[in-house]
């Protein structure tokens, strides 16, 4: 009710306050997504024909606008209106929208654009319009190779998201995860990578050995993960482009739970020996290994703060799994989780202010967040089994995996990726070709 009133007030005052263009507050759960219209990007017949030859897409202009529309919808902040209701043709709308037409279908913002084939390149221009204020909010153009056409849709979405919310987007990104198949007792697992919206899926390993917990480096070109190659569970480093792999360090036992440091120069991980697990780092340039914790307990799931000064990790030194924070050299260890239940998989937010975690309490699993001093615990979602949150690069969305309960015969097991807003709203299944687990979100590929 209050929100409705707010829009009404906005409507009345907008024409007077010239600079008060549309803004979206993403710090609260958005139950009233902003209605907007994504007009298909217009395209001339000649360009259409060229792209049809190159990328095998009938109308690349419509397809790019579909990507934008789908991204905006899944963000939960926007409500893209049905194209059937659009009154103005794409090419005319891009030149000068008839704002009355768009107001009629209750669009508050309008996205228009044009695609052309110039010198064997894909050129895209797009505009964002404030329909109520009858003003252009943004106009951008860029040129790229035609094969990048899906990324164009993601980059446009990022620009729109940033203009309307004031924060960086997360659409031109990829997810690395573990693709799963086969019975629960003999699961086959492969590393896989896909665009954030599930397209361009690619397997990076063949499934001959068990692989777990892949994580991107800050430039999203390298991945660190756990592989059971030759039945020796070790942390590996993989270059996505070249496919080269190497073992990280020379440890006389299992290394696991790897992550990159924020500058990408170190890998932090656990090393298990004689029934205890401690946290170590290895410098990727000089190969120097440093021991960070030294305790008879299990210390695992380390994750750096974005400034690299602190590390949060999981330890059962109190008797049960809890979350701790320490300086990056291992000094000043402090327990921060004190709620009821067990806590695991702490991950520091890219904004630095929160730590996401998995919690097990009374037989239920929760994904939650707390401040870095442990205060303000908030549980976002409850389920039979879910864990391992990973942050979107703007720190607004978490992706994690969820497993189903099997029936009395042990059938019906599945593992899927899910995402949820930091606000606890907008929980969504992330579609994958196979069952999936251990997702890790890349950084923004274009900046």
């Amino acid at each position: 009710m209050i929100k409705k009133l707010f829009y009404l007030v906005l409507f009345i005052f907008l024409p007077i306050k010239v600079f008060a263009l549309i803004e979206i507050d993403i710090t609260r759960g958005n139950l009233d997504p902003l209605p907007l219209a994504v007009s298909p990007l217009s395209i001339d017949d000649l360009s259409k024909k060229e792209f049809k030859n190159i990328v095998k897409i009938e109308n690349i202009g419509s397809e790019i606008s579909n990507i934008v529309e789908n991204n905006l919808r899944t963000s939960g902040l926007f409500n893209p209106l049905s194209k059937d209701a659009f009154l103005q043709a794409p090419d005319i709308a891009n030149l000068k929208p008839r704002f009355e037409d768009w107001r009629l279908i209750k669009a508050q913002a309008l996205i228009t654009g044009k695609v052309s084939y110039i010198n064997e390149k894909l050129r895209v221009e797009f505009r964002l319009w404030d329909v109520l204020a009858a003003k252009e909010m943004m106009a951008l153009a860029f040129t790229t190779v035609p094969s990048n056409w899906r990324r164009v849709g993601h980059i446009i979405t990022d620009k729109i998201y940033e203009r309307l919310t004031g924060e960086k987007g997360y659409f031109d990104t990829r997810i690395i995860y573990v693709a799963e198949e086969g019975p629960k007792t003999k699961r086959i697992k492969k590393l896989a990578i896909m665009d954030q919206d599930g397209f361009n899926n690619k397997f990076l390993t063949l499934g001959n050995e068990l692989v777990l917990t892949p994580r991107f480096n800050p430039t999203s070109q390298m991945v660190t993960y756990l592989s059971y190659f030759k039945n020796l569970p070790r942390v590996y480093l993989l270059d996505i482009e070249t496919g080269t792999q190497e073992v990280v360090g020379d440890f006389p036992g299992m290394t696991f739970a790897p992550r990159f440091s924020p500058n990408g120069k170190k890998i932090i991980m656990s090393f298990a020996k004689d029934g205890k697990s401690d946290i170590y780092t290895m410098d990727l340039e000089n190969r120097i290994v440093e021991r960070i914790t030294n305790h008879p307990s299990i210390d695992t799931s380390p994750s750096y703060s974005p400034d690299g000064k602190y590390i949060c990790f999981n330890s059962d030194r109190s008797g049960y799994q809890q979350i701790y924070v320490m300086n990056s050299d291992g000094t000043n260890v402090k327990r921060i989780s004190f709620g009821k239940g067990l806590y695991g998989t702490p991950v520091w937010s890219p904004r630095g202010d929160l730590i996401a975690f998995t919690k097990l309490h009374k037989g239920k699993f929760y994904i939650g967040v707390m401040r870095v001093d442990g205060s303000g615990e908030r549980l976002l979602t409850e389920n039979f089994y879910q864990e391992a949150p990973s942050w979107s690069p703007n720190g607004r969305v978490l992706i994690f995996y969820r497993e189903t309960k099997t029936n009395a015969k042990g059938e019906g097991f599945s593992a899927k990726l899910w995402s949820i807003d930091l606000t606890g709203y907008n929980e969504r299944l992330v579609e994958t070709a196979t069952d999936a687990s251990d997702p890790s979100w890349s950084s923004l590929l274009s900046n």
Binding site: P183, G253, F256, A257, A408
Partner: protein
């Protein structure tokens, strides 16, 4: 009427399950023989653990003493102790927990005279359950360490 019938069926199932459980789990540790295999004649290959624990029960110690006795007689054979966890924990913690359980078994074998060179440990965390069920009995079977011949 239908609702009532469903309730009755559910109650019947529930009470039946409790009976089965009490026969095969004691103090959260699996005591049945369903999944147990043999390292050699009469020598069980595995021991079971309580949730989040790596403490060996009296029965587990007995099994491990039998393994140690057999290993002393068969000094050319080396073993891998594989440690496992149930699915009710986070993947990374479970990898560490599996390693801890395997080491608990290894340490006990060592106190009965088996050299540490002959025993390697390998944790699978929750990756290789023997029972794919999502219930306390299945989970108790999966919380285990298994001694496997390495050569």
């Amino acid at each position: 009427m239908l609702v009532l019938a469903t309730c009755l069926v559910l109650t019947a199932c529930a009470s039946k399950k409790v009976e089965t459980l009490s026969g095969q789990i004691q103090g959260d540790v699996y005591t049945g023989t369903d999944t147990v295999e043999y390292l050699a004649d009469g020598v069980k290959d595995r021991v079971f653990f309580a949730t989040n624990e790596s403490i060996l029960t009296t029965a587990s110690r007995e099994t491990l003493r039998a393994q140690a006795a057999w290993l002393r007689k068969n000094s050319s054979i080396n073993v891998v102790v594989e440690g496992h966890a149930d699915e009710r924990g986070t993947r990374e913690y479970n990898l560490a927990l599996g390693e801890r359980r395997a080491n608990a078994a290894k340490d006990y074998l060592m106190t009965y005279g088996i050299s540490s060179d002959r025993i390697s440990v390998l944790s699978y965390g929750k990756e290789r359950p023997v029972d794919s069920g999502s219930n306390p009995l299945a989970w108790s079977k999966n919380r285990r360490s298994v001694t496997v011949k390495a050569n």
